[in-house]
Point group: none
């Protein structure tokens, strides 16, 4: 399995270059998390990282490439964590609970990434002005959750319901749990996750 974030079909990035890219990505995450996507100018990110504006342009083709790399690095880590946890789930019900709990567990230590991700998803546009993420990104998530819920119905664990509505609701509930926690740092994220797992389970089981 190939490492992510390598330039495809080109010479691999040097260690120092990769370190700089990582540093810039980290600075971008912190700035976006703090002031939002729109205010997160390259100047601000550079200042936060203690480097010059030009250096960002030197390492990234443009602001968009930087944003995409933020997403890829962050999103990849989340997916990796959640998938690993879900390997050991035996039933659909257990998978459902594991999904909610494990993503919360991971996020507990990655608050800024979470916020940055949300900002980029909501704001990054392609050259034609349409959202770069958005429909397609969520669609992927919905598909995965639909599979989970469909599986539960096949095993007889879950009642009959519209899997798309369920997936949309699940996704939104988890996202908002994080948003709430970001806004209320003292909120007990794990307790919230357990309550949410209960809630979703009751909504599904016969």
């Amino acid at each position: 399995m190939r490492s992510e974030n390598e330039p495809p079909g080109q010479k691999p990035r040097s260690f120092i270059e990769d370190a700089r890219r990582a540093q810039i990505v980290a600075a971008a995450i912190e700035v976006i998390a703090e002031v939002g996507f729109v205010q997160a100018s390259l100047a601000r990110i550079a200042k936060h990282a203690g480097i010059s504006k030009g250096l960002i342009s030197y390492h990234f083709a443009g602001k968009d490439e930087l944003m995409v790399e933020v997403v890829e690095r962050t999103y990849g880590a989340i997916v990796e964590h959640v998938l690993a946890k879900m390997q050991s789930a035996g039933s659909a019900t257990e998978m459902l609970r594991t999904h909610v709990l494990s993503v919360a567990e991971y996020m507990r230590g990655h608050r800024a990434e979470l916020r940055a991700l949300g900002e980029i998803f909501a704001n990054l546009r392609d050259a034609d002005g349409r959202p770069h993420y958005g429909v397609r990104t969520n669609e992927e998530i919905y598909r995965g959750l639909e599979d989970l819920y469909r599986f539960g119905r096949q095993t007889g664990e879950f009642r009959d319901f519209d899997v798309r509505v369920m997936a949309v609701t699940h996704s939104a509930s988890v996202d908002e749990m994080f948003a709430y926690w970001v806004a209320h740092p003292d909120h007990d994220l794990d307790a919230h996750a357990r309550e949410l797992a209960d809630l979703l389970e009751r909504a599904c089981v016969r």
Copy 2:
């Protein structure tokens, strides 16, 4: 009951001034719904309204005040509609369903407002860079929903759960239902609302 949107402690706005504000707010909603918050410059809103940029600045202290008024006017209308519908609900369960169904019903005819609201909530920042809406705005909504769920527990209809988590989940599910519908215009909003009502009801009842 006092009319909203009056300048507190100042002389009341003239009829013509109020009409202009309403016109500008309407133009802002249409432009934001079409091109998003970031691209919705005052120049663009003015052009859409067929007036000069300067006139917007004349009637509103700044872009932020305009955005806040968009939210208040729109939001007020929604609340008015939903509260009216909920008057006739007999039980907590019925209130829960009515809330989900009536807000969907209202929104079916107000897509642009919905999209504009979402954009403003996601993008409007205070001078310090932090989201203007979010915590405080939602808090009011959460309180209302908590009352609903607490009531259901008092009547014995609902099981024992964390009302804050329930309120947050409820709110997010409804918001995302709309967001999904905005992104997928052919999606059956009313069917989604019925499914969501079922889902929430099952999550709550004993």
Copy 3:
């Protein structure tokens, strides 16, 4: 006959707006003539005109539109002058001499325009990176001169020669006369023009 430089199919420009555009065009000509196209940044032009950078963007869609207007205003004036003079020429030989002498006569009072025109012709590029003027612009001039020389051959005044080579040479000789004069302000432009007219006439006549 419609005035040039009006926006086609749109409301006509106000007096004050046209005056500003003229002022900006004049400043652009002076700056380009002084420091060349590449160094003639909007900032520099604005400073020279005593206005803000933003105001240029307010009146012109972009740097390109400004440059095109410089060319159109300047070029139009030259063509107008030369054509008027050539009306009264009786023979091809006389037309040839009049062309050289009248353009020199006009240019004597419009040194900066001349230089600016040359800079813009040489440097202005389209979005695809290819010269905006250049082939097509010169082609038009060549065609006109070819007509003149072909006419002289038809009347029997001129010998048999390649009219395209003659047109290219004529055009280059006139351009360089101006360039030399721009570089050597004390040079006698009119004497040069008379010598050049003699020279071209001898090269053509039987």
Copy 4:
């Protein structure tokens, strides 16, 4: 005769250094010929040469010095060729024709150099913003051509005319011949040169 392009009063350049400079000059010519002076950044030239940007700065004091060396190396080669051809010319008329024909002959195989030269002449500026070439460079050429035409008048071959105007016209006609040929690759350069020689000869002879 001393080799050109040696640093005056300093230790001579090593073989390897001179080779590098030649390589960079060659790359610069190709890049300028292809994309023009303005777009020919050091980064682009370095990439074309397969070396790093820094190396250009190492071998040349700056972009300007590189450009000057491009001109000197290229220009020297042209002069060498033309002078050699003109040795065998017997009369002023023959010298005049030989000059036009031999420079065309040489250029036929050196299109890129020609284009690069034109771009640099048109665009290279001194620190004060004024053209680096132009006046001074052409002066040398004018002097040489004036000698030629003065000689023809002494031998009685040529009529009485202003030798400076003749030199300026001659120089411009040749330059534009090349420019036209660069823009129209299918144009017959040699035929053009013969026509131009005829034209200039007729303009001069009694």
